[in-house]
């Protein structure tokens, strides 16, 4: 096993250095080293999307990313969505429309939805389904989640999504 190595990351706008095994999963670095436990592990093999985060504007499964690969990138996690205590429009929409039930897929789902709206602020239902197809939810049957994303898209401007 290789030695712990300092690796620089920007997480939710903050520049950080973590000293960890370079092959450690980004998921574990976020959860164990940075105590950002909002990002969840559901399957550990990139199937469920619970660990979805954005890395330099790409949506990734953080369970499949060795932290080495994330060096010097900007990482966005669920903890970065709300600003100054105010929920992000997507969080607000999920709350109002019943998009979260047990909540375990929710952080990943929010990141996938944010990613979708960043590139496509007014998606069709088919585009929402495709955009969220990598994120499994076992509770909702997805209907309330689709409605949450549509509602957020309706209520916000492109500028909000880009933040």
């Amino acid at each position: 096993m290789s030695a712990a190595t300092p690796i620089q990351l920007n997480v939710n706008g903050a520049n950080l250095t973590v000293t960890v095994q370079p092959m450690k999963r980004l998921l574990d670095v976020l959860r164990e080293d940075l105590h950002l436990t909002g990002t969840k592990e559901g399957c550990g093999e990139g199937e469920c999307g619970s660990c979805s985060v954005r890395m330099n504007g790409d949506l990734v499964n953080s369970c499949l990313v060795p932290v080495l690969q994330a060096a010097s990138t900007n990482i966005e996690t669920v903890e970065g969505l709300a600003r100054d205590g105010i929920l992000h429009p997507l969080q607000q929409a999920f709350l109002q429309c019943g998009g979260a039930q047990c909540g375990i897929c929710t952080p990943g789902m929010l990141m996938a939805a944010k990613h979708l709206l960043a590139y496509n602020p007014h998606p069709t239902m088919a585009e929402i389904r495709e955009g969220l197809a990598g994120n499994l939810c076992r509770c909702t049957g997805f209907m309330r989640i689709f409605e949450s994303v549509l509602s957020a898209a309706r209520s916000t401007t492109q500028e909000t999504h880009a933040r």
Partner: protein, 753 residues
């Protein structure tokens, strides 16, 4: 939606109580929690389905002095998990009865090292012949459990079935099978346990029923109730999968904590959770049905067999619910039902949303379409002619005292789905197309609350108190795992007490703090516990009027002022209520007869399905569900329950296959156990009719399980409508369609040499 009396908070879609924490990512699930000095636990599991443990060897490449190791010999109390019958060992002692059975536990401060250590334990076995199927178990050539492999059987007879066959116009038989289904909660099973001589055992965990785990821990540790404490942490989905299994993992982690002198976390990864924890019982149901010339049911003879796995766990109660739901929502003068739960050498099957009903509802609702085809009657009309009504009796001779609006639900579902026009349209289009479409229906009920005398035995206690900080707290052991317990119970309290929704909070789900309001299962929470919170709130108002000068009409401020007055006088402001069975509800356990459930939810579902005759895939294109489940306390949460249940039901029918090899799940990954994704679930349309039930919280009946009962038969009925071929077994995968629909080219037999 028909709307009963208007309320301030009940019947409105307030934000989910713990919603903001879940959306911010700050809700604390078990794997998000660390304890000072915490070690990580793992399990050495059986590699064989049945055998004696000949030896356990520890590889010398590991320094075992660094590890805590627990075997059955370390158990201070009883080596059994306490469910209904104490037959399941906490740790195997000399013999294993299924693959993945826990043999030995290991803990270490480093979670990676503990995994290596598991691989360095070498268990050798003397193999015994295993039993893998219902058929092998019921023929009893190899006996693996008790005297006859049978965990439980029921028999009931209404009228005289055998007198009917000779004069019936039609007799139709059929056999129907359902496979195992995995819950696939996105958060795996997990707990953290601590032990000290002074305080005993404390367990935090992802679980549905804190007092079930509590009961098991008492026996395993031989401790008095006050020395065991179980605390539910935020739970990432359950669906029945965290009803009984947490008693196992909690006992394991607590044993390790005692042995190591450290808190121990055990959180399964997906591969272990899929291979080692419970699933839905597979089933085989046989129907033989007699009808008169008008298509009225004369007799139903039903034989049910379920596969219970290696230990009895909840198989007897699952079988009971399966039995009681097997005749469908129909009235029939002569009914005989025999049912058996059989032992096999697989991981024990357990609770899963619907609890036996989805299996037998699949059979009866698929069978109704087979009858309709066989006697040449419209499947809708056949159902309409036989629906049960108020004043009629069920198979257990329960007199239905509440109104039943199946006809209305059916009418609604037919209109909303445009059923008849679509069927006509598809019949025209299908002949010239490789894609064949069809419409299918299922009508069904689901009994709310525990079966039979269950609620009387549970004798639940629940209530509220008011804190010095001016918050009303709901005191229940009923847990939140997505379905909305927190929200619905606080709505009920806030409504009655005249306070705001935000004034009411949930007490921590901690057996050291809350009373035992029973398990969070059986679609009982809104109905049974909701009613207890309603009564406890009313009782508190009476106390405040009698002892603290609360006026008849009062404001929120006056309520809290009166609470402070009472606190000064009595030292606390608390109101608890115990379960009272509705009058006229009697169940005879011996005769298996009477009021099987205090109330029923009713539903009619319709599926539109497209079968691609080139790729052999079947896809649900649209789904409609009309239901009556009493008063709807929270429309968005309730609708979310229906949609989620339907999505699981679609998975049950068309996607989710547990592949067993040598009794072990072979596809124990999300990569190859496939659930419906955002692109697979069709638009789902949900329609409510509300008939408030007098003995449920604000008129509520159970909702959670009902929607899972119908999709599988509705979908397979739609497939029959589309292609004219019957499939009587689920899951129905493309390869199953291919096997039946494709006609293999005839090849000449090679000449034998």
């Amino acid at each position: 939606m028909s709307t009963p009396a208007k309320n301030r908070i009940v019947g409105t879609s307030v934000p989910r109580k713990e919603g903001v924490d879940k959306l911010r990512g700050t809700a604390r699930y078990i794997d998000d929690i660390q304890r000072e000095g915490m070690w990580h636990g793992a399990t050495v599991r059986s590699a064989v389905p049945r055998g004696f443990i000949r030896s356990i060897g520890f590889d010398r490449k590991i320094d075992w002095s660094e590890f805590g190791v627990v075997t059955a010999a370390d158990i201070p109390g009883e080596n059994h998990i306490q469910m209904i019958v104490a037959d399941q060992p906490c740790l195997a002692d000399g013999q294993v009865n299924h693959c993945e059975e826990a043999i030995l536990l290991i803990a270490h401060p480093d979670k990676h090292k503990v995994r290596e250590a598991v691989d360095a334990v070498h268990v050798e076995y003397d193999l015994l012949p295993p039993v893998f199927s219902i058929e092998e178990s019921e023929n009893q050539q190899t006996v693996i459990w008790g005297a006859d492999n049978c965990f439980k059987s029921f028999q009931l007879e209404k009228g005289d079935v055998d007198s009917v066959w000779s004069h019936a116009t039609h007799i139709v038989g059929g056999e129907y099978r359902t496979g195992a289904q995995e819950h696939l909660y996105i958060e795996n099973n997990g707990v953290i346990a601590e032990y000290s001589v002074e305080t005993g055992v404390t367990v935090w965990g992802s679980l549905q029923c804190p007092f079930y785990a509590h009961k098991s821990l008492l026996a395993v540790f031989n401790l008095p109730p006050e020395k065991v404490r179980v605390i539910q942490t935020e739970t990432g989905g359950a669906f029945g999968g965290k009803e009984d299994y947490p008693s196992v993992i909690a006992s394991h982690a607590a044993l390790l904590a005692m042995k190591c002198g450290h808190p121990v976390k055990m959180v399964y990864d997906r591969v272990e959770d899929l291979a080692a924890t419970t699933k839905r019982h597979p089933s085989r149901v046989r129907h033989r049905t007699a009808l008169d010339a008008n298509g009225k049911l004369l007799a139903m003879d039903i034989d049910i067999a379920t596969d219970g796995g290696a230990y009895s766990t909840l198989s007897s109660t699952v079988l009971s619910r399966a039995t009681l739901h097997s005749p469908g929502p129909y009235v029939c003068p002569n009914v005989r039902i025999r049912s058996h739960a059989w032992a096999t050498n697989t991981v024990p099957y357990g609770a899963f949303r619907g609890f036996g009903a989805p299996q037998t509802v699949f059979a009866v609702e698929r069978h109704m379409d087979e009858i309709a085809a066989s006697i040449n009657i419209d499947p809708i009309e056949l159902r309409r002619r036989n629906f049960i009504h108020e004043g009629e009796t069920t198979a257990t001779e329960q007199l239905m005292r509440e109104p039943i609006i199946l006809d209305k639900l059916l009418g609604r579902a037919l209109v909303e789905s445009n059923y008849y026009n679509k069927r006509a349209e598809f019949a025209k289009e299908n002949s010239g197309s490789a894609i064949k479409r069809g419409m299918g229906i299922a009508a069904f009920y689901h009994g709310s609350g525990f079966t039979g005398s269950g609620e009387r035995y549970l004798n639940s206690l629940a209530g509220i108190d008011v804190t010095a900080e001016g918050k009303v707290r709901v005191l229940v052991s009923s847990t939140e795992f997505g379905q909305g317990t927190n929200t619905v119970l606080t709505q009920v309290a806030a409504e009655i007490l005249g306070v705001e929704y935000d004034d009411v909070i949930m007490a921590p789900p901690d057996t050291g703090i809350v009373p035992n309001s029973g398990p969070t299962v059986a679609s009982r929470t809104a109905m049974v516990i909701g009613r207890l919170i309603e009564r406890a709130s009313q009782q508190l108002l009476s106390m405040l009027r009698e002892q603290a000068s609360l006026p008849e009409q009062f404001s929120r401020q006056q309520f809290f002022a009166a609470c402070e007055q009472l606190r000064k006088k009595a030292g606390e402001v608390v109101s608890l209520c115990r379960y009272e069975a509705p009058p006229d509800i009697f169940w005879d356990d011996q005769k298996y007869r009477g009021e099987a459930y205090p109330a029923y939810g009713w539903s009619v579902q319709i599926a539109q399905v497209a079968v691609d005759t080139v790729t052999y895939s079947a896809e649900v294109e649209e789904f409609w569900s009309a239901q009556e489940a009493g008063r709807v306390i929270h429309p968005i949460l309730a609708t979310g329950q229906i949609e989620g249940g339907i999505a699981q039901g679609i998975g049950y029918a068309l996607y989710e296959k547990v592949v067993l090899q040598n009794g072990r799940m072979a596809n124990n990954q999300m990569t190859n156990y496939i659930m419906p994704t955002a692109e697979d679930v069709p638009p789902i349309h949900v329609f409510w009719e509300e008939l408030p039930f007098g003995h449920g919280g604000f008129g509520a009946k159970g909702i959670g399980e009902l929607p899972h009962d119908g999709p599988a038969p509705a979908i397979l009925n739609a497939i029959r409508d589309a292609i004219g071929v019957s499939f009587n077994s689920i899951p129905l995968l493309p390869e199953d369609l291919f096997a039946k629909l494709s006609i293999a080219p005839k090849v000449e037999e090679p000449a034998s040499v």
